[in-house]
C-alpha cells in the first residue's frame, strides 16, 4: 500500500500541472468527485464484512445467490389510463410484447379515495391513470388476465387497503385463493406526506391502517409485498441521492417500529417489505446508492431490530427511471437517458424495472413510446451482456468509495431525524418538505446558471418544435365512468353495503383489524368513496404545513 501511496503522490504532483476544463466535478446531487480513485480510498474496506457474497449478509452485492443468472429482473411498465376497458387492452398489449408483470396506475380521484362523481374529481377521471370506483372496475381491468400466474403492483396509498381487497375479491372470482396472490401495494404513506402529497388521514391513523394490512397479509396473503417503501417520489420532488436514500430508509425503519409496536413479530412482516427507488442521471452515484441501501437495511434489520430470518435483512427493490430528468425539448433524447438510467438500475441489482417513455413530459405515453421503453430493457437483458455476472462494479475503487460515502451521509440524516423526534414529528414540522424543496431549487438554479448542462434545454438547443404523436384521453371517459358507477349503485344490494360500512366504522372505532371489514364492503360493491368517507369521518383529514 505504501508503494501505491508514493506512486499516487507522484501522479498527483504531475496531474496538478494539467489544466482542468472549467466544470464543477461533482455528482448530480452535489457529492464531490475526485479525479481518480485507487486502493487507498477503500483501504478500510473489509470484503466479508462490507460486501460479502450475493444472497448473503450484508447483501451489498445483491439479494439473491445467483441473481440474474437465475431469473432476470421483472420488466414491469407502470400503466393505466381512461376506463377500465382501455387499461385492460393496454395490459394485454404489454403482456403480448413480453412484459412479465403488471403495474397499475390509478387516476387522481382513485388515489385520493374519491368516486368519479365527486365534485373534486371533475376533469381528473381517467386522466393520469385508470378510474376505479368499485370492484366492478377491477373485474374489468383484470378480465382475461390470470391472477394465478401474473404478479401485479398497485401504486396506491391512502386507499391501499381497499384496492388490495378488490384484488383479493377478483382473485376469489377467478378461483385463486388470497394465499396464492403475488404482487405489491405501495401503501407507503410516509413518503406521501414528505413528497408525493397524496393523503387523506393524518399520519397516526394512516400508520394504523398500514399495520392492519401488515398483520392481515402476514396471515392471509403471505406472498404479497405489503409496503413498497418508496424513494422514487422523494427524488422526483427534488431530493438528492443521499436524501432519497436516507429518507426512504428512515421511513422503512419507522414502519418496522410501528409493526413491532402493533405486536407483529418482526420476522413475520419484514420479509414482505420491499423498496422502490429512482434511477437518476448520475450513473455511478445511482449504483452506489442501491448498494449502500442494501447494506444499511441488512445491518439495521439484523442488529437494531434483531430480525433472525435472513429474508428480513434483504432489501428487494423495484426501480423506475427518473421522470423528472426527461425533457420536453428533443424528446427522442429521452430514449437514451432512459437507457443509461436503466443500465444503472440493472448494475445496481434491481428486482424489477420500469423504463419511462420518451413522451412523458407531454402526456401519458403512446403504445409506440411504451414499446421502445420496454425494448430498452430487453436490449439490456439480452444483448449487452450486463446480466451475465453479478455486481460487475463491485470492487471498483470509485463505486466502493461512493457507496461508503453515501452510507455515511445517510447516517448523518438518520441522526438529524432522530433529533427531531423521528419521521412523523419531522413531517409535521415540514423538515423533509423543506429539505426537498431546497434541493429542487438549488438544482434549478444550477441548470439556469448552466453549472449543470441539460442537453436540449440549456445547451445544444434546437429551435424547431418537436413533432411527436401523443396519447389522447377520450373526453367521454368521465361520463362513461360515472354511468357505470350509477349502474353499480342501482344493481347492488344497498342494505348489505350499509351494513358492511357500519361494520367498517365500528372497527375503525374499536381498533379491530380493518381489512376483513373492508373486504366485506368491497364484495358488496361499496364504492371507494363510501369506504374512505367512513374512515375520513372517523380519522379526520390531514393538513400540511405550507413551505416553499
Amino acid at each position: 500500500m505504501s508503494e501505491i501511496k508514493k506512486a499516487r503522490d507522484d501522479w498527483n504532483r504531475e496531474v496538478n500541472n494539467f489544466k482542468e476544463r472549467s466544470y464543477r466535478f461533482e455528482t448530480v446531487s452535489g457529492e464531490p468527485v475526485d479525479i481518480l480513485y485507487t486502493p487507498e480510498e477503500i483501504k478500510h474496506l473489509d470484503y466479508l464484512r462490507d460486501l460479502g457474497f450475493p444472497g448473503k449478509y450484508p447483501f451489498t452485492r445483491g439479494v439473491y445467490v445467483n441473481m440474474y443468472r437465475g431469473k432476470l429482473w421483472t420488466m414491469r411498465q407502470f400503466s393505466g389510463f381512461g376506463t377500465p376497458e382501455d387499461t385492460n387492452r393496454r395490459y394485454k398489449y404489454l403482456l403480448e410484447h413480453g412484459q412479465t408483470g403488471l403495474s397499475v396506475a390509478f387516476d387522481f380521484p382513485t388515489l385520493y379515495g374519491r368516486d368519479s362523481d365527486d365534485p373534486f374529481s371533475a376533469g381528473e377521471v381517467g386522466r393520469c391513470g385508470v378510474a376505479v370506483d368499485t370492484l366492478r372496475d377491477m373485474e374489468i381491468i383484470f378480465d382475461g388476465i390470470p391472477l394465478e400466474s401474473i404478479s401485479t403492483s398497485m401504486t396506491i396509498n391512502p386507499p391501499a387497503a381497499m384496492l388490495l381487497a378488490m384484488y383479493i375479491a377478483v382473485g376469489e372470482k377467478q378461483g385463486v385463493p388470497s394465499e396464492r396472490l403475488t404482487g405489491t401495494i405501495q401503501n407507503d404513506m410516509l413518503k406521501e406526506y414528505q413528497a408525493q402529497k397524496t393523503w387523506i388521514y393524518p399520519p397516526e391513523p394512516s400508520m394504523r391502517i398500514i399495520t392492519d394490512i401488515l398483520s392481515y397479509c402476514s396471515e392471509r396473503v403471505p406472498k404479497w409485498n405489503t409496503i413498497s417503501i418508496s424513494g422514487y417520489h422523494i427524488r422526483e420532488a427534488g431530493a438528492t441521492a443521499v436524501q432519497e436514500l436516507a429518507f426512504t430508509l428512515a421511513n422503512g425503519f419507522t414502519y418496522v417500529d410501528y409493526g413491532i409496536k402493533a405486536g407483529i413479530p418482526v420476522d413475520k412482516f419484514a420479509p414482505r417489505l420491499s423498496f422502490f427507488f429512482n434511477s437518476h442521471l448520475d450513473f455511478f452515484e445511482e449504483i452506489a446508492k442501491y448498494r449502500a441501501a442494501r447494506r444499511i437495511w441488512a445491518r439495521e434489520m439484523r442488529n437494531r431490530y434483531g430480525a433472525k430470518d435472513p429474508r428480513s435483512w434483504l432489501m428487494r427493490f423495484h426501480t423506475q427511471t427518473a421522470g423528472c430528468t426527461l425533457t420536453a425539448q428533443q424528446p427522442e433524447n429521452n430514449i437514451v437517458r432512459v437507457a443509461f438510467q436503466a443500465l444503472a438500475a440493472v448494475l445496481g441489482g434491481t428486482q424489477s424495472l420500469h423504463t419511462n417513455s420518451m413522451d412523458e413530459t407531454y402526456a401519458l405515453p403512446t403504445e409506440k413510446a411504451v414499446k421502445i421503453a420496454l425494448r430498452t430493457q430487453q436490449l439490456l437483458a439480452h444483448e449487452t451482456g450486463v446480466a451475465n455476472t453479478i455486481d460487475p462494479l463491485g470492487g471498483s475503487y470509485y463505486v466502493e468509495a461512493l457507496t461508503n460515502r453515501l452510507e455515511e451521509q445517510a447516517y448523518k440524516y438518520f441522526e438529524r431525524i432522530d433529533s427531531l423526534g423521528g419521521v412523523i414529528p419531522a413531517i409535521e414540522t415540514g423538515f423533509f418538505q423543506r429539505e426537498i424543496a431546497e434541493s429542487a431549487y438549488r438544482y434549478q438554479r444550477d441548470v439556469e446558471k448552466r453549472q449543470k448542462i441539460v442537453v436540449g434545454v440549456n445547451d445544444f438547443i434546437e429551435e424547431e418544435e418537436p413533432k411527436i404523436e401523443l396519447l389522447k384521453i377520450r373526453p367521454e371517459v368521465e361520463r362513461h365512468q360515472i354511468e357505470r358507477l350509477n349502474e353499480v349503485r342501482k344493481e347492488r344490494n344497498n342494505q348489505k353495503v350499509k351494513e358492511s360500512l357500519r361494520e367498517l366504522r365500528r372497527a375503525a372505532h374499536n381498533g379491530a383489524n380493518l381489512m376483513p371489514r373492508i373486504l366485506d364492503a368491497v364484495r358488496a360493491y361499496a364504492t371507494l368513496g363510501e369506504m374512505c368517507g367512513v374512515l375520513k369521518e372517523e380519522f379526520g383529514e390531514y393538513e400540511e404545513p405550507i413551505i416553499f
Binding site: 387522481f108 371533475a122 402529497k197 420532488a237 420536453a328 425539448q329 424543496a437 429542487a440 439556469e448 400540511e544
Partner: protein
C-alpha cells in the same frame, strides 16, 4: 411609487406534484415579488377567492394531472363572475401544445412548458404586469 408585484401560485385539483410550483414560487420571491402559495388541493373557487382577497396581479397555476382543460376555464369564468377579470391568469405543467393554444385563446395569458427557465417567467411577469 410602485408596490411589489403580487402573485398567487396555485395548485388546483388533486394533483400533488408541487416541485415546479415551489421552485417557481421561490424564484419569484427571490426576484422581489410578493408570493402567496396556496398549498395543494385547491378548488377553482378557493383559488379565485384567495386571488381576490390577496389582491394579486397574477395567478400562476401549476397543473400536471391532465385536468387543465377543466380547471383553467373554470378559473377564468369565476374571475369574470366576481368582477376580477383584470387578474392575469398564467401557468404551467404537463400540458400538450395543442391544449396550450386552446387555453391561450380562452384567455389564459401565457402557459409555460417543462424546461422553462424561471428567469424567463420572472421577465415575462415583470413585463406583463407593468402594462
Amino acid at each position: 411609487m410602485e408596490g411589489k408585484i403580487r402573485v398567487l401560485v396555485a395548485k388546483p385539483g388533486l394533483d400533488g406534484h408541487d416541485r415546479g410550483a415551489k421552485v417557481v414560487a421561490a424564484a419569484l420571491r427571490d426576484a422581489g415579488m410578493e408570493v402567496i402559495y396556496t398549498g395543494l388541493h385547491q378548488t377553482p373557487e378557493q383559488i379565485v377567492e384567495a386571488a381576490i382577497q390577496e389582491d394579486v396581479d397574477l395567478i400562476g397555476i401549476s397543473i400536471l394531472s391532465g385536468a387543465h382543460m377543466t380547471i383553467f376555464p373554470r378559473i377564468l369564468k369565476l374571475l369574470q363572475e366576481k368582477g376580477a377579470g383584470h387578474i392575469i391568469v398564467s401557468g404551467g405543467g404537463i400540458i400538450p401544445k395543442e391544449d396550450m393554444e386552446k387555453l391561450e385563446r380562452l384567455g389564459v395569458k401565457k402557459l409555460f412548458g417543462p424546461g422553462t427557465p424561471t428567469t424567463e417567467i420572472v421577465e415575462w411577469i415583470k413585463e406583463t404586469v407593468k402594462r
